[in-house]
């Protein structure tokens, strides 16, 4: 039942597209995998795309917020993209604010933002 989320490398960035509903174990495994991949590839930027995700609960939000802070500790900037209207509404109603997090509407804009942030 436990599936790993693929992490793709593109130049000095890592790309992740979350394609299915996350259970707790998959989310925690992803946290570890991403940090190892940053270490392995010396990636400076990460884009995590949520276009296919139709809800995020407080646990997933916590894991996500944590992995963004952890990546930052390792010198990588993270942009999250593709948050659906329903997900944005429920996260805020639930009382979760990912305020320090860089976001963009879609993957393309996320990569552009990241390139600007990384200054190249």
């Amino acid at each position: 039942m436990n599936m790993r989320i693929p992490i793709l490398k593109l130049h000095d960035c890592l790309l992740i597209s979350i394609q299915w509903e996350l259970d707790d174990q998959t989310a925690l495994q992803f946290q570890e995998d991403l940090l190892h991949k940053i270490h392995e590839t010396s990636a400076r930027g990460v884009v995590i795309d949520f276009t296919s995700i139709d809800f995020i609960d407080s646990f997933i939000a916590k894991v996500l917020g944590d992995v963004i802070s952890m990546s930052k500790l390792m010198g990588a900037k993270v942009v999250i993209t593709g948050i659906q209207p329903a997900v944005a509404i429920t996260l805020i109603e639930l009382g979760i604010r990912l305020e320090e997090v860089m976001t963009a509407l879609d993957l393309e804009k996320g990569l552009e933002k990241l390139q600007r942030e990384l200054g190249d």
């Binding site: 259970d23 609960d57 916590k62 329903a86 509404i89 429920t90």
Partner: protein
Amino acid sequence: MDSSVKIINEWDIVAARQLGRNVAKELGFGTVDQARITTAISELARNIYLYAGQGEITIEKVENGAKKGMTIISRDQGPGIPDLRKVMEDGFSTSGGLGAGLPGVKRLMDEFSIESEPGKGTLIQSVKWLR
């Protein structure tokens, strides 16, 4: 038409919210309300898993005159909640983590009630009406 999911492990949290989402879809809830309902169930099921060890999520379709909706019932025989007023405050969490908890669930749903007796367990009922 009522259905329940026993919450014993983390996979049951996934099963409960999938059941809820399917019923919400069937009843004709829009995508935003489907997300609200799915998220509320996920929070309630996780509370059971974290604090009570085990319990049950029951989904019921409800009708009140012309109004249609669904009820989420979360029931456990866990330790109960000693100070209900406190857990309904935003930002209060005994697990030292999430802080969203029950006030968040209340905001996502249209109706919300909670009964809890220390040593006996907790019963939470919440309703979302179709608009």
